[in-house]
């Protein structure tokens, strides 16, 4: 091999090597894009809900009302017969089997939606009023185009008869989409069209608040102690080793801690944001202490020396000068730690937050789910409608994480002093 050939070979190797690096970076970036695109394309349809317009005959004789008609008596009334009678009129049915199929076009809550409409508009009694009723999951998915129509009848969830009704309704322009407020206001449900993340949003909110209240002060105090006051001795070393190791312990171990100590020894209520918050704060604590210490360390010694030289005590130096200067870094570290806690699932599963909770929790000691756990729960469901719900939940979760991280970066860039 001549000198020139060898040189060429070396340059080719150089190019190849650089190419490998470029390919790796692009692969990582492409993966982020694929993931985000996949979630968004699956989830965006969950923000709308298919409604079917039905002419409801609010016939007061079917309500068996006793006494005067007012909001209270309407609230107690049974609307089932009235609802069924109006719904069955949308299409001719031969027998009870077909009638059942018609009712299955609507979400199981049709009775209450019809009732709520009348309670809001009590003057409509004994009138025939067009009311929009939430469609069932199958019709919803059909209308959103997620449902293959050309399968043989026994392999799809919508029968030919129901398809005929659907096409007929489309022709009469009775089918319509609207913004899916149920997604944000309702709790969990077995029916995808009625399931919402209201409960898990509140659950996550309480969990994060408790986590913040517990971990932020302790983390700041611990890092001030370790960075400013701790003498160099065995105890300090031991604490530092502990913190570094705890930051790398798998999250599921914290779940076992919560289960073994908080639930079984201290008998805290299961499935509640309170236990979740405590467990997650134990997990977040070392992850906040590490950036807090780094930002305290970044404050130059000259600040401390200046304060000490004019007669401030060690505490006054730290609390009046060092801590305020380190605050932006501390806060952004805390927010990033909380963002990690918000996305954490495994420990919450172990402390029982996987319970099926329909009610929206109103306090941290009510059983509830949280956003990531909701993702896990819904992803196990077979119905097609839950896939878009899961993706929408992920979109909400990612949205919160992006906002939190953005605030953290902003705090750091805007307020942190650069010492040179």
């Amino acid at each position: 091999m001549t000198k020139e050939q060898r040189l060429k070979k070396r340059y080719r190797a150089e190019k190849r090597f650089k190419m490998y690096g470029l390919i790796s970076v692009s692969l990582a970036v492409i993966f982020v894009l694929i993931l985000v695109q996949n979630i968004f394309s699956k989830g965006s349809s969950a923000f709308s809900r298919t409604m079917i317009e039905v002419a409801v005959n609010y016939d007061s004789s079917l309500l068996e009302l006793e006494g005067p008609i007012n909001q209270n008596s309407l609230k107690d009334a049974d609307f089932y017969d009235l609802a069924v009678e109006s719904l069955l009129k949308i299409y001719p049915a031969k027998d009870s089997k077909e009638e059942r199929q018609i009712l299955r076009l609507f979400s199981p809550d049709y009775e209450f939606e019809i009732k709520d409409f009348l309670i809001k508009n009590p003057n409509k009694i004994d009138q025939i009023v067009p009311v929009k009723i939430t469609a069932s999951d199958d019709i919803d998915q059909l209308n959103k185009g997620n449902f293959p129509r050309d399968l043989p009848e026994d392999r799809r969830r919508v029968s030919n008869y129901q398809l005929n009704i659907y096409d007929n309704l489309i022709e009469k322009e009775k089918i319509d989409k609207k913004f899916n407020n149920y997604l944000f206001t309702k709790g969990d449900s077995r029916d995808p069209e009625l399931a919402g993340i209201g409960g898990s949003l509140m659950g996550s909110f309480f969990t994060i608040i408790i986590c913040l209240i517990l971990s932020f002060p302790i983390a700041i105090m611990a890092s001030i102690y370790l960075e400013e006051f701790a003498p160099k001795n065995k105890i300090t070393d031991f604490i530092e080793i502990n913190i570094n190791n705890l930051a790398a312990v798998p999250s599921i171990v914290y779940g076992l801690l919560g289960l073994g100590i908080l639930l079984s020894v201290m008998e805290f209520p299961r499935s509640t944001p309170l236990v979740a918050g405590i467990t997650l704060s134990l997990m977040t604590l070392p992850r906040i202490i590490i950036p807090c210490r780094a930002s305290l360390k970044a404050v130059p010694p000259s600040i401390r020396e200046a304060a000490l030289s004019v007669g401030a005590s060690k505490f006054q130096t730290v609390f009046h000068h060092v801590v305020p200067l380190a605050m932006p870094g501390t806060l952004s570290g805390t927010i990033i730690g909380l963002a990690q806690a918000l996305g954490e699932t495994a420990p919450l599963i172990l402390i029982g937050m996987v319970a099926f909770v329909v009610d929206i929790p109103s306090s941290p000691v009510d059983p509830s789910a949280s956003l990531p756990v909701q993702v896990y729960l819904w992803s196990e469901q077979a119905e097609r409608g839950f896939v878009e719900k899961t993706s929408a939940t992920i979109m909400m979760l990612l949205g919160f994480l992006i906002v939190m991280n953005f605030i953290a970066v902003y705090l750091r860039q805007k307020f942190e002093k650069k010492w040179n």
């Binding site: 340059y11 790796s24 502990n242 604590l285």
Partner: protein, 459 residues
């Protein structure tokens, strides 16, 4: 009631600050030279007012239910299921009990109400006594013009120290909770059967109560908890993940550190780090619903049978999740290799890639190995991806297209939903947790040591 007491304590704290400060100012008018700023006398009084009362209040609230329970149950030694009986009593007392009301429940409930009143009253008395006592003590001190600032600072320092002890307490809590249940587990199941056994089927451990196991059942249980398939599955999925993450992560790190322009670096580094910020449940969802089925149809078209819960899908996605851990750390490590080493290499005519391969990487190797070890520990402790995308059945295989299970998956599967304590099955989860904890601890410890040694070398 409790919130009322806490509120009263807090209000007293706040007002005693102002009281202490004004008392100190009064001292000034008497021509006494204060030993600290007046505000410190306020802090001093406030701390003395709040801390003892709050500590007593906290301990009391923590232990009161347990003590009352013991006191009541002591009166009913003949009751068999004590916990159930106590729960029934409580719900009867609160008026939401639906079920057969026995005389014992009534008697216990009356007892409960009387003990409760005693407890409430004595709590108030003791807290009030603590408040008055500590306030007079602190007030006397102030009147004597103590060194309020020094005293406040000592109290604060103790507080700071206590909060840094929380880290130790957490470690102790983890070890105690894991060890306690694991020891119970190993008292029924032979520890060597657990570590070396090759069949894992905890659902056979139908026995609810560990103390009621007959010898025949015990014999059958012994080989239901062989965790070798779990260790193998965990290692296998972690290996697949590392096969994805190490080359991509390492090359990204090298490219970002050595080749990329500042502009490329500025945008691509945060994007890669997004991968570390995405919750793992999202990866699990993606692996289970998109990647798994994709591999299965791909396999079908190639004539292969691919499980929809294949180890490949879970490992691949886990690898993607780990990329940023390796790329960021190796980027840092490579950046901290002194420039003089590179320049020396260029000076003798090496190309950039030769410099990287023969000079920079060997110099940065300890740091890179440390980052890979940290990534391995992350991979074996990772839960949600494998729970959602890997299999549930223990399956000793090295075919990446089949499904395998992992330690974390089994912990979740055992503990999800309601579970009885004291069943070998539940305890097995804690034993697995202990194994996981020890394994990750060793990996982290080695990794941190290696990285630290490396840092010291060049700093």
């Amino acid at each position: 009631m409790n919130s009322l007491i806490a509120g009263v304590i807090l209000i007293l704290c706040l007002s005693s600050y102002f009281f202490g400060r004004s008392e100190a100012r009064k001292l000034v008018t008497q021509n006494i030279k204060l030993k600290a700023l007046p505000a410190y006398y306020g802090y001093y009084l406030s701390l003395w007012c709040g801390l003892p009362a709050l500590i007593i209040f906290g301990c009391w609230s923590l232990f009161e239910p347990t003590i009352i329970k013991v006191l009541i149950l002591n009166n009913f030694p003949q009751i068999e299921s004590k916990d159930l009986f106590y729960e029934q009593t409580l719900s009867f007392f609160n008026g939401n009990f639906s079920g057969e009301i026995t005389n014992e429940i009534k008697a216990a409930s009356i007892k409960y109400s009387s003990i409760n009143i005693i407890a409430q009253n004595s709590k108030i008395v003791i807290i009030a006594a603590a408040l008055i006592g500590s306030l007079t003590f602190a007030y006397r001190k102030i009147q004597n013009n103590n060194k309020a600032r020094d005293d406040v600072e000592i109290i604060l320092k103790v507080l700071l120290f206590t909060s840094s002890l929380v880290a130790i307490l957490t470690t102790v809590g983890i070890i105690v909770s894991l060890l306690f249940e694991s020891l119970k587990f190993f008292s029924t199941i032979n520890i060597f059967e657990f570590i070396f056994g090759t069949s894992w089927s905890p659902q056979r451990a139908f026995v609810r109560d560990a103390s009621a196991i007959t010898p025949e059942e015990l014999l059958e249980l012994q080989d239901a908890f062989g965790s070798v398939p779990l260790f193998a599955g965990t290692a296998f999925i972690a290996l697949i993940a590392m096969c994805v993450a190490v080359p991509i992560g390492l090359f990204s790190g090298i490219y970002l550190a050595e080749y990329a322009s500042t502009k490329v670096r500025k945008y691509s580094k945060p994007i890669i780090e997004i991968l570390a910020g995405i919750p793992t449940v999202v990866y699990g969802f993606f692996a289970a619903l998109t990647v798994g089925p994709f591999f299965r149809t791909l396999g079908e078209s190639l004539g292969l049978t691919v499980s929809s819960e294949s180890a490949l899908a879970a490992g691949l996605i886990m690898g993607v999740m780990i990329i940023p851990y390796i790329s960021s750390l190796s980027d840092d490590v490579i950046n901290s290799v002194p420039q003089s080493l590179r320049e020396g290499s260029y000076a003798v005519g090496a190309t950039k890639s030769e410099t990287i391969k023969k000079v920079v990487i060997p110099a940065a190797l300890p740091g890179i190995i440390g980052s890979i070890l940290l990534a391995v520990s992350r991979a074996i402790g990772e839960t949600m991806i494998v729970v959602m995308a890997a299999g549930l059945a223990a399956n000793l295989t090295i075919n990446p297209l089949e499904s395998t299970t992992t330690i974390t998956t089994q912990i979740v599967m055992i503990l999800v939903g309601d579970q009885e304590f004291d069943s070998p099955k539940t305890q097995a989860a804690f034993a697995l947790g202990l194994t996981l904890f020890i394994a990750t601890l060793i990996l982290n410890y080695i990794a941190l040591r290696v990285v630290k040694k490396y840092r010291e070398k060049y700093d």
